[in-house]
Amino acid sequence: MEFSDAHIVAYLKGDLPSEALRECDALMHSSPEFKRRADQIRYIYNLTGELDKQKQIDAASAWRVVSRRISRVSFRHKIWDIARTAAAVLLPLLLIHQYIIKPMQDAAPESMITIASAPGVVTKASLPDGSQVWLNAQSTLTYPQRFSKNKRTVRLTGEAYFKVAADKKHRFDVVTPGDMTVSAFGTEFNVAAYPDAPDYQVTLAQGNVDVMPGNAGGNRTLQEGQKAVLTLSSGEMDVRQTDTYVDTAWKDGKMVFRRERLENIALKLSRKFGVVIRLEGEELKGYEYTATFTDETLEDILDLLKRSAPISYTVSKQKQLDNNTFTQREVTIRQSK
């Protein structure tokens, strides 16, 4: 039987009836010519089959998948490159700062800042470590522009209320004239150290502080509600209970007196109002008053004092001096007859 090419296709597909199939099988072995034809047809079928198959593959959507993956990776690379470049630039700067500039700064003499309060004014300031200070009238506070590595030290003349930012590693020291030192890590306390007062007082509002009375030695640790009083004439320090409100009300603009001697009241009034107060007579100094003043004028206060005790007062006019400045007003308080 003669086979057409279409028959050979059917043979290769296995579609021929079994009789013809056997005949073809035999021909594959016996006739090289038949085998060659079958191979050629098979190849043409394979070629067209392959082409058909490839054409059905959706390269475009596969490309979208691959290109998304690539751009994700290259985005990560870009971020990484930026980070590496940034590190390459910043690391030397950091090292220069850490090992050259900072030691230079540390070695350089500290530049100090001094703030002062005028009579009758309470000044509030923030220190470089974030601590807050209320500086009472006629007081000065000196502190470095940057605190040194180990310690925070400020110098105070006069009265100030400290709200110290907590920092367990760096002690906060307030040094007064005469080298009394108040030392804390983070608390609130009031230091009154006017050189013209008979004593220095440290009042603890919160936490705890150590008070070192200068050359005399004998450190004391204060508990809440206690105050240390350092008598300047004797150099002795004792600790007593106190009403912290009385000692710290000034920072809120109040003057609070509880059985306070007129002598001390006169000192506080002179600072608050920038006047000189003269007390005539020793007995007068011992008069005790209890009062709270907020925004009264000096005259209001003097009138109130006059009303509750047998005293009288005179106020002198300001005098102009040659250099165009004025003297302070003088208040004289005397016992009335």
Binding site: V9, D39, Q40, Y43, Y45, E50, D52, W63, V66
Partner: protein
């Protein structure tokens, strides 16, 4: 038939200039043929596509350190083949009971692929020379996947005539492609659809 200078040019642009356009061109040219090639090893067409996509992704990532032993064409083929065998190894660890590896039939066949463009240029010229009826019948049979009966209806002739058309087409194609055939027959020894 094979345009290896174009391929060299693409690879040069990809490796030295990070040229994504060249990479895209490479992808579109070789993706379909590599997917069909992968089917020699792995039966699932979806898995084949995944593996070829992975291969292209790896080629892009490693573009700076690619070492070409013989040709870029072989590199593509070898990479896909390696990924396929890697996949099969991992599969066979999971499925030890499978004693027959798919793709065994191809163990002796040369590793070669033809791109769509190459296959078309090979066939198209030969197909153009066929008489109209024979070409139509052959294309419907091979690309339309129709039976002789369906083609007969389509062309309004008898199935016998269709058979004659196809025989004629095959005869002419065999004649026309005979210079390539002895070499190419070796490529797909067990592949018949």
């Amino acid at each position: 038939m094979k345009d290896n200078t174009l391929l060299d040019d693409w690879f040069r642009k990809i490796a030295f200039n990070d040229d994504q356009e060249a990479f895209k061109a490479l992808f579109f040219e070789f993706y379909p043929s590599l997917c069909v090639f992968a089917e020699r090893y792995i039966s699932s067409p979806e898995m084949c596509e995944d593996i070829v996509q992975d291969t292209f992704f790896q080629i892009w990532n490693n573009r700076k350190k690619i070492e070409v032993a013989s040709s870029f064409r072989n590199l593509l083929i070898t990479s896909v083949k390696n990924n396929c065998t890697d996949y099969l190894r991992k599969q066979s660890i999971r499925q030890r009971y499978l004693d027959k590896q798919p793709g065994e039939d191809y163990s002796d066949s040369p590793e070669e692929i033809y791109t769509v463009r190459e296959l078309e240029s090979l066939l198209q010229a030969a197909l153009q020379k066929l008489p109209e009826n024979s070409r139509r019948a052959f294309e419907l049979s091979r690309f339309g996947q129709l039976t002789y009966q369906q083609i007969a209806t389509e062309m309004s002739v008898s199935p016998k005539t269709v058979e004659a058309y196809i025989s004629k087409a095959l005869g002419l194609l065999r004649e026309d492609l005979k210079d390539y055939l002895p070499m190419l027959i070796l490529l797909y020894p067990g592949f018949f659809q």
